[in-house]
């Protein structure tokens, strides 16, 4: 599934800007974490999202609409693409690899991975619920909907904690309400 979108990408070579480091770091006996490699990017990365097959890592950069795609299997930066201009957005990849959801807190967008086109966008608040700048953002296992957390302001009774939005229209399909225990 990954191959399909990867082949369709507009590839921009920026290899000279990237520094890969596989120098040995200190290892510990029975270590849980073992250093594998590092990439130095042209600008400060801010947020990351793994592809569902664990092969690619998407990274946003501060104050840019750019997303850098790291081919983890080959330890290199493969592509960079432009998605909707948002400040420091949080991303989530759909399990079928067709979409990336982008949460910029003031707005939320669905991006098609095949051509990196934005196909739907919602501005916060939605139905009185304000998106949070958090990682509480995930597609359902069938990729047919995406959950995003939000905060509902107003009189305290029950509050919407998350919205389930239909893919790709982003219509509200369901909501999760919370209230403190009595």
């Amino acid at each position: 599934m990954i191959r399909r979108w990867h082949d369709a990408l507009l590839i921009i070579t920026i290899g000279t800007l990237i520094c890969m480091n596989t120098a040995a770091f200190s290892y510990e006996a029975n270590a849980i974490l073992t250093f594998e490699f590092s990439l130095t990017l042209p600008d400060y990365p801010s947020r990351m999202a793994w592809s569902p097959d664990n092969r690619f890592l998407a990274a946003t950069q501060f104050n840019k609409g750019q997303v850098l795609l790291i081919d983890v299997a080959h330890q290199r930066l493969s592509d960079q693409v432009i998605i909707g201009q948002m400040h420091d957005p949080i991303m989530a990849w759909s399990p079928n690899s067709r979409y990336i959801a982008v949460n910029g807190s003031t707005s939320f967008a669905l991006v098609s991975v095949a051509d990196w086109k934005e196909i739907a966008r919602l501005k916060s608040p939605v139905d009185g619920c304000w998106f949070q700048h958090s990682r509480a953002l995930a597609f359902t296992p069938d990729s047919q909907a995406v959950w995003i957390s939000c905060i509902q302001r107003g009189p305290p009774v029950r509050h919407t904690a998350a919205l389930k939005l239909r893919v790709p229209t982003l219509e509200i399909e369901d909501r999760l309400e919370t209230a403190p225990p009595l």
Partner: protein, 201 residues
Amino acid sequence: MSDVSIYAAADRITSHNESLLLLSRVSSCSGDKHPNGINKCVQFLLGYDLSNKSPLFVPFGIKDETDPFRIPSSAQIAAIGNLAVGSWTPPTGQPPHGPRDIRLETYDTQSGKRLAAFGGPSDVGRLAISDYTLAANGEFVIATLSDLETKQGGVRVWDARSGRLLQSLQTPPASFLELSPDGTRLAVIVLKEIRIFRVGG
């Protein structure tokens, strides 16, 4: 305590097999105010399986024994649903640019009991926790650390139930981290670098 407001927040959705688990932090706040204007709140942790919106456990409240105005600023639940971790930010009355007293606490979600506290200044010195995540099996907590003044940082791994430090790596200031969906790799942002680690143990 008469409630004057409720604030609900969620920090991360955890996926596990066909389930999505969400840990909601719901604060119930009274009119009691700290001199700096912060309301006195009680925070509850509520866990849900988003596939059917069913609760995962009986909600329980968590509080700081020494500062009633201090509440967790974020929380996550392990993929298997039986363990949660919360981060506690600097207590009230602390100067905004003073020492960064951030710590992590883990809870058994079935009993509501606190299991361990770690990652505070006594553990990490001048460094402060930037980000953290729970291993899918809930066995350990991984955190990134930073101190921008000294340009020091690191990555720490703690046993989630005992709080025992399992691994400590020195790095420049480290910010966000993400575990791969299969839990075998960890990506860490270290200034302009992305460092990839294999996760074993």
